[in-house]
């Protein structure tokens, strides 16, 4: 379980997160929506310790992410994260991209790592592209590779940061299908997205971010179908 407790985060004098609290239960899918600059990406990066926080705390399975004695490299093994930019390692083939962390971080043998990588790449529909370099893939394929790469670490949680925003419209569907597949397998996920229809379909809960706070949170029927806050209504109007 991920417990975010009243976190505050500033970049210099700019306060980006102004007291965010959110609990994500095992198996839950929480979508995060909200305007540009509201702090959604920053929150995700605080969860796996890529960014420090000034106040509050985040517990992942009871471990305090920002405690001094926490082994972040170890903690990150169970939190997969996929970013908006697909971030392939360009000097490695698709298969090597996915095998690298299991081998170096988990110490898996080449055979084991390869077996898992092939499996994950098959799951995301890239079984034909194992020996290809990422530059030869479409954006959607690169993004699916990035998802497979995170999944190969066998994480307990997956965080997605606008994984379809940089894609051509016709490639969005294939990546969303991959997320659907994950949610149906019971993966615990936090999905930052601008795809409101998708959020409504897959989420157990939807959180609307506004100016560094969770402004409204609840079931998709509630937050997207029948929002109460004027800011939520205005935001949904602007994106739908």
């Amino acid at each position: 379980m991920i417990e975010i407790q009243d976190i505050h985060k500033s970049f210099g004098s700019l306060e980006v997160l102004k007291g965010v609290s959110l609990n994500v239960e095992k198996g839950e899918v929480v979508s995060v929506i909200g305007g540009s600059g509201s702090g959604k990406s920053t929150m995700l990066m605080c969860i796996n310790g890529l960014e420090k926080i000034q106040r509050g705390r985040i517990l992942v399975d009871g471990t305090d992410v920002h405690a001094r004695n926490t082994d972040l490299n170890k903690l990150r093994r169970k939190i997969g994260i996929v970013f908006q930019q697909w971030n392939a390692f360009p000097h490695l083939t698709v298969l090597e991209n996915v095998m690298l962390a299991p081998r170096k971080v988990l110490g898996r043998s080449r055979q084991d790592a390869e077996a898992v990588a092939v499996q994950r790449l098959t799951d995301v529909g890239l079984a034909e592209k194992l020996k290809v370099y990422p530059s030869k893939l479409s954006g959607g394929q690169q993004q699916r590779m990035a998802i497979a790469r995170a999944l190969a670490m066998e994480p307990d949680y997956m965080l997605f940061d606008e994984v379809t925003s940089a894609l051509d419209p016709q490639l969005v569907g294939e990546v969303l299908d991959t997320l659907r597949m994950l949610s149906s397998k019971g993966m615990t996920m936090i999905v930052v997205t601008h795809e409101i229809a998708f959020a409504r379909e897959v989420s157990d809960r939807v959180a609307f971010f506004h100016q560094g706070r969770i402004h409204e949170i609840g079931s998709p029927e509630h937050v997207i179908g029948n929002p109460q806050q004027p800011e939520t209504i205005a935001f949904l109007k602007s994106v739908l």
């Binding site: 990066m45 796996n48 890529l50 490299n73 170890k74 990150r76 093994r77 939190i79 997969g80 994260i81 970013f83 930019q85 971030n87 390692f89 360009p90 000097h91 690298l100 962390a101 170096k104 971080v105 988990l106 370099y133 990422p134 530059s135 990035a146 790469r149 995170a150 670490m153």
Partner: protein, 217 residues
Amino acid sequence: MFSTSMSWHDLGFVLQGAGVTLAVTFWAILLGTVLGMLFGLIRAVSPWWIAAPLGVVLDVPRSVPLLIQLVIINSFKSIIGVNASPFVVSCVVLGIYASAYCSEIVRGGILAVPTTTRRAARSLGMTYWQDLKEIVFPMALRVMLPSWIGLTLGVMKDTALVLWIGIIELLRASQIIVTRIQEPLFVLTVAGLIYFAMSFPIARLGAWLEKRWQEND
């Protein structure tokens, strides 16, 4: 019909000089690359109060003319009583000179790797050093290669300056022949062709590697 008084023996002498040029280039680039990697890495990843002073120190070999550096260090070594041959002095001076340029190339290459890619590596649980070794260096290498090839070719030409501390390398060997047979045009053309023959494979190797990498990314 063209005729010259340059004998096969003279050509052998010039080729011997070319061997010295290659040897000095090799050791200087080896030393320069090893030190340059180290300095460049330090400059790219350490806090400003380490990176900035190191940058200033490395500006010295880059801004003082190589000839002056060679002569000063060569005289200095006898003052402090170090028994180094002019050959060793040449390799060290050129090596440090090359390391200053190389550190710039390495620093640029490392900084060219996008932070987002490094974050992706770290969020997979890789350590700081694993990220450097598996992601940053291989990616930086592709950026660095063309400038590094350029540096190597430049150093090879700069080795001509070591004749000033008494080393008979390719240019000096050619001068000696010119002085004797008085055919500067012909002898220097031969020397120029030899320089070209030594540089060409390095340039081609660089172009080939670059092309191979470009096919991938």
